[in-house]
């Protein structure tokens, strides 16, 4: 079913893609579009959503997510892969972790007595690390499955799992927290000297700083403050976490429109029609607004390129539709088109 051979190198560069950016820039939208784009390339994508927001599933026209995996988009005859999704909350992940750590019998009691709450407060980053640890577990299943497929002897890999996804896409927590979140492993390695949490943190840190396992895609809007914050975040993530950065996604760009520079009255004459009273002024004001926003966008794209030498993928502002399956399809196409463009080539 899965055919990664023809996929854009971006999708096969690493098994985990973490989508990060400040609140309100459309991280969830980009997460969905990225996963759908991967599916279009024949991959099976798993979206992992961390904040319990209900918006993600509705963009696919489906019910809100659960801890268990659900299918958001089906595989199709044309070779498209599946998009699945699940939430991964710290509480669920922590209970699962305690179970795995041999505290299964106690875990419910630990939770109800508030001990878990207390421990995770006393050990900052613990909640983040169990979430990332869980991601790592899925990622390792993927790696095992990839080994099994590559293995021609037929002996296989004991841990392989034919049901494993080809790509994990994580909708990361908002901005400031994204850095804390990704830095949690390093912080814990410093703070906890022994025990399973330390080894968990070490494993997670290894996954985060390995470009073949993890890349971070940062999302911004073509506006001054988000661009500034994105550049700052990019440098902190590289310096403090050592993650490798994929392309930057600039979301919600007003597409250019033919005729924006034209004088409405002249354009009407040229088209052999007439305008209603007041219409020329309306058309001109709206055109002026869009021209101005597009000029500002261009400035911001240039500033971003200057501050951060990463390939930019540009997604259009959707005037036509709310973010529904139809709109999402438009964004997935734009994402693929953005990937296909040669890096560092300035576009208009």
């Amino acid at each position: 079913m899965t055919d990664a051979a023809g996929a854009d190198p971006f999708f096969t560069a690493s098994r985990v893609v973490i989508v990060a950016g400040k609140g309100g820039v459309g991280k969830t939208t980009v997460t969905s579009a990225l996963a759908l784009a991967a599916a279009r390339q024949g991959l099976r994508a798993l979206i992992v959503e961390l904040e319990g927001k209900s918006g993600l599933a509705s963009t696919f026209g489906r019910e809100p997510l659960d801890y268990d995996e659900v299918v958001l988009a089906d595989a199709d005859e044309t070779g498209g892969g599946e998009v699945r999704a699940r939430t991964l909350t710290p509480d669920d992940a922590l209970i699962e972790y305690l179970d795995d750590a041999g505290l299964g019998r106690l875990s419910k009691r630990l939770v109800s007595s508030g001990v878990v709450d207390m421990v995770s407060t006393a050990v900052p980053g613990l909640r983040d690390i169990v979430v990332l640890g869980k991601v790592k577990q899925i990622e390792q299943r993927m790696a095992a499955e990839a080994r099994r497929r590559a293995d021609q002897t037929g002996t296989g890999d004991a841990d392989a799992d034919a049901d494993a996804p080809d790509l994990i896409v994580i909708d990361a927590p908002a901005a400031g927290h994204a850095i804390t979140f990704l830095r949690s492993a390093r912080g814990l390695i410093d703070a906890v000297r022994v025990g399973p949490i330390r080894s968990q943190a070490t494993d997670v840190q290894r996954m985060l700083s390995d470009a073949e396992r993890t890349q971070v895609v940062l999302v911004t809007l073509p506006e001054e403050t988000p661009v500034n914050e994105l550049v700052e975040t990019a440098f902190s993530l590289e310096d403090e976490v050592g993650v490798s950065l994929g392309p930057v996604v600039v979301n919600a760009l007003y597409p250019d429109v033919e005729g924006l520079d034209a004088d409405p009255a002249e354009a009407a004459a040229a088209a052999g029609t007439s305008l209603r009273k007041g219409e020329a002024a309306e058309l001109a004001a709206a055109a002026d607004f869009r021209r101005h926003r597009i000029a500002l966008q261009e400035e911001q794209l240039a500033r971003l390129a200057e501050g951060l030498p990463l390939h930019q993928i540009r997604l259009p502002f959707l005037f036509e539709s709310e973010l529904d399956p139809e709109g999402l399809a438009v964004l997935a196409d734009a994402f693929l088109a953005g990937l296909a463009e040669a890096p560092v080539e300035p576009t208009s």
């Binding site: 400040k22 609140g23 309100g24 904040e51 972790y97 305690l98 750590a101 041999g102 505290l103 106690l106 630990l110 007595s113 508030g114 001990v115 207390m118 421990v119 407060t121 006393a122 050990v123 900052p124 980053g125 613990l126 927590p173 901005a175 400031g176 703070a191 906890v192 000297r193 025990g195 399973p196 949490i197 330390r198 001054e224 403050t225 914050e229 700052e232 429109v257 033919e258 005729g259 924006l260 034209a262 409405p264 354009a267 009407a268 040229a270 088209a271 029609t273 219409e279 309306e282 058309l283 004001a285 709206a286 055109a287 607004f289 869009r290 101005h292 500002l296 005037f319 036509e320 709310e322």
Partner: protein
């Protein structure tokens, strides 16, 4: 500050900044809370009041908006051409927490022992709701300061815009945790039976997180002993402040479905506590260029496709469509918060990062057309 008796529901935002003593700006991330808070404080200063604005923004947006390079945890006066005074504070969670510890410590020695404790250093930065609580703590400190008539607070970018309402309760619940009573019991030489249960718990948990976490925690609670009451009283006082009639809540939203839903949820929560919304600010509303229906404009664009005029109609249709959708989203919200004044700030042509930009927003917030 002098207490007013009734909760303020102003006729417009101008009345709000002239009469309120505490304004808390709430809303989801990215909707413009920080900028709105700055504009409200600035307007109060222009009206002759002594206003201070507090932000929790780690990204220094407030400092940027005020054209400042260095504001910190104590009020910095911003000079400008207004009758009143304008100050700004950028909340530093850790310093604020440290100050609270110092305030309630019996002596300098106790304070230093706590500040140096690793467990304390961890929780002071990471305890769920600490940032939110410290914002309220700072609010408490500033409202008690006779130097200010109005305190405007920009709430933290929590997962839910209103998590901060629970922050004081979270902190006291943490301090009251039964486990800590048990943990600190051995030093009191009592509670031997309970202690055995605790020991088994601890043995299990230390397997996972390492024993030093508990050693640090025990040392912290030993050092903290005697301070809980002061802390708890303060948390109660902070909580009361949220319930105080002098405190006005302003909802900030953008005309998008998700942020409107968040604002509605917040309004519901306030209503449960019988707290009226004192104002609604909707940022980034697209301009309305035409009264024509988007469908008609789109149809016209289609029949003229390929011509400049077709492009112009297509563009007008785009904005007509987005504006009508924004109006739809907002319809229920404005009704829900009624009679609170609603101010719509248009999508500005450029970002706000100086006093002139704030002044431009002010023209939209304080114009009378609502």
């Amino acid at each position: 500050m002098s207490g007013t008796v009734e909760r303020l529901v102003p006729a417009d935002l101008g009345e709000l900044v002239d009469r309120a003593e505490i304004v808390i700006c709430c809303g989801s991330g990215g909707v413009g809370k920080t900028t709105t808070a700055a504009v409200l404080a600035l307007q109060a200063a222009r009206d002759g009041r002594r206003a201070v604005v507090v932000t929790i923004d780690p990204a220094r947006r407030l400092a940027d908006a005020l054209g400042l390079t260095d504001i910190g945890n104590t009020p910095t006066t911003i000079d400008g051409d207004w009758d009143g005074e304008l100050s700004a504070v950028m909340l530093d969670t850790k310093s604020t927490f440290d100050a609270v510890v110092v305030r309630y410590a019996a002596d300098d020695d106790q304070a230093q022992r706590i500040l140096a404790n690793r467990f304390y250093r961890n929780i002071s930065g990471a305890l769920s709701g600490t940032q939110e609580y410290m914002a309220m703590e700072k609010l408490y400190e500033l409202q008690a300061d006779a130097a200010f008539d109005l305190v405007v607070v920009d709430t933290p970018p929590t997962r839910h815009a209103l998590d901060f309402l629970d922050a004081p309760k979270n902190l006291t619940r943490f301090l009251d945790h039964r486990l800590y009573r048990i943990l600190t019991a051995p030093t009191r030489g009592a509670m031997k039976a309970v202690n055995r249960v605790a020991t088994s718990f601890i043995r299990q948990v230390t397997k996972v997180v390492g024993a030093e976490v508990f050693d640090d925690a025990i040392a912290f609670f030993q050092a903290f002993e005697g301070m809980e009451d002061g802390f708890r009283e303060r948390a109660d006082a902070v909580l009361e402040l949220l319930d105080d009639p002098r405190t006005a809540f302003v909802l900030v939203a953008s005309p998008r479905r998700d942020t409107v839903e968040e604002a509605r949820y917040f309004a519901d929560r306030l209503a449960e506590s019988s707290i009226p919304v004192a104002g609604l600010v909707v940022n980034r509303v697209h301009p309305r260029f035409s009264d024509q229906l988007p469908e008609g404009l789109r149809e016209r664009a289609r029949t003229l496709a390929g011509t400049d005029l077709g492009g112009l109609y297509g563009n007008l249709a785009d904005f007509a469509l987005i504006r009508s959708r924004e109006d739809e989203h907002l319809e229920g919200l404005a009704e829900q918060v009624a009679p609170a004044p609603v101010a719509r700030v248009p999508y500005l042509r450029s970002d706000v990062h100086d006093l002139d930009g704030l002044a431009e927003i002010a023209t939209h917030l304080f114009s009378t057309d609502g």
